[in-house]
Symmetry: C2
Subunit: 297 residues, 2 copies
């Protein structure tokens, strides 16, 4: 049986090595996804996730995380949580509950504290300096660059699939802003009978098309992982341009239950893939003349 | 040109009268949806929305609201907000923004206060008594009855469609719990080129199928409002029973761009409909021998 992992952005490669180690030894899709994401959360060099993540408008690093178990369709999520090391681990711990699977703000922090999750001030010195330097300039903008969510999709040898995501959200976001990342259906979706998908880009656009759910839906209706990812992104991109004259950045990764993968994007978008038959490889997807072109980098 | 409004639960009838007044005079779908929901928010006799809503586990009435403009696909939402009169009005005010359309917790409260939204302690004396009486008994349960979201879908004479929702969420929910109601795609979705949908029931189940988005997707792919609502609910109900041995309560209302309506449910579910050709009518939908049966009440 095959195993596979796909992760968003160049930073995903760091975690994908860890996912691959777990999956190659017959480990579980859930562990591979969460350990992969968590490794990225711990790296201060990545400025959109966990420690070293971008602050909100008030200078606080406030994090979102999500997790979905494709066997049961159980999900867990936290939004707007501050002062903890790993939103993705907290999100996973919420998934087996019968209800109250998605917690935000102070409620999420109370839960994390009560359940012994590790605390951490995620504002790095570097992030503080960037915030202070950019604060005045960015006050004048309405939407901001810098919304790189780390997303992992994993398939293990038993056929189980998972999705896990983590982000600090938009740089200079308003306090309490919730993007697509903690939203099951928009930011991530996993169904072991079909496939999994996860999104990165401007969450406010991704939500308008329930992009991750839609890509998995398409995989369940005869489309390949590649066709499903591109169809979901291209249709929403076209619809938003037609209605509003523009579409902001959105990128989507997909993984089918047979281990095949796909990507859809309307911007330049690097990602990492590894499987039992493919060594860890970084790719760049880009739109050229309306077509998605994918090259190794 | 036709106009129409559909609303969840018997309590929806109170607001639907107001929606009908607005729409019959050529008013806007957005005003009709928001004023309908807001009238229900103000009624203490309804125990799952606004004033008189059910408290969370700590005795606080903490509210969620969502709004979507089907012309632009812009949405606004608040989750876990305390101390304000009308979550749905706050949600609508967030929709035109380029980003930061969904705010939770303290951030949502800061926004509402800064923008002059009316404050209100939503804990009624009756709700406090129910909470104190039920607290000890309900501590022992994992999922709770009592999750009736008021949802309005509206179509105006110009062809614009909107969705608006408001709820106090699960009775005895954990602090910070986010259900489907504030989630665009799960709790509500509106696209004036196709139709609109909104959900009520156990949010944690509804989210697993992005139910509102899916129903609108089906309406855009040849299914009637009635077929789309039942197909979306029945498929998710079947999938959850097959995977997990059970499916919790979920009900979905739909409205197509031609003013036709639909409902899908796996429990007894009353709702209200009114249009230019149909006086305000209360219906009850129920599952009998696997079929959805709808009667006037």
């Amino acid at each position: 049986m095959t195993w596979a992992a796909i992760a968003t952005w160049k930073m995903g490669a760091l975690g994908a090595k860890i996912s691959a180690d777990i999956l190659a030894k017959g480990g579980r899709a859930s562990d591979a996804a969460v350990e992969g994401v968590s490794a990225v959360e711990d790296e201060p060099q990545f400025h959109s996730v966990g420690y070293g993540g971008r602050p909100d408008r008030t200078g606080h690093v406030v994090l979102d995380g999500g997790f979905m178990d494709g066997d049961t369709l159980h999900y867990g999520a936290v939004a707007s949580i501050e002062g903890f090391r790993s939103p993705v681990r907290i999100a996973r711990s919420l998934a087996p509950r019968e209800a109250n699977n998605f917690l935000c703000g102070k409620g999420a922090e109370l839960y994390a504290e009560k359940n012994g999750f590790e605390k951490r001030d995620n504002l790095s010195e570097e992030a503080r300096e960037i915030y202070e330097k950019e604060r005045d300039r960015l006050k004048k903008l309405s939407a901001y660059d810098g919304h790189d969510t780390v997303c992992f999709l994993t398939l293990d040898e038993s056929g189980s699939m998972c999705a896990a995501v983590s982000t600090s959200g938009l740089f200079m976001k308003d306090p309490g802003r919730v993007g697509d990342s903690p939203l099951c259906g928009s930011g991530y979706y996993a169904d072991s009978e079909t496939g999994a998908a996860a999104a990165t880009g401007l969450g406010e656009e991704i939500i308008k098309g329930s992009l991750s759910f839609l890509a998995v839906f398409y995989m369940g209706h005869g489309y390949s992982a590649m066709e499903a990812a591109q169809k979901a992104v291209d249709e929403l991109d076209e619809k938003l341009r037609r209605r509003n004259g523009k579409a902001e950045a959105m990128s989507l990764i997909t993984l089918a239950k047979d281990g095949s993968w796909g990507v859809g994007t309307n911007v330049d978008f690097p990602f990492a893939f590894v499987s039992d038959t493919q060594e860890l490889t970084l790719f760049l997807a880009a739109k050229k003349d309306g077509k998605t072109v994918i090259e190794t980098i």
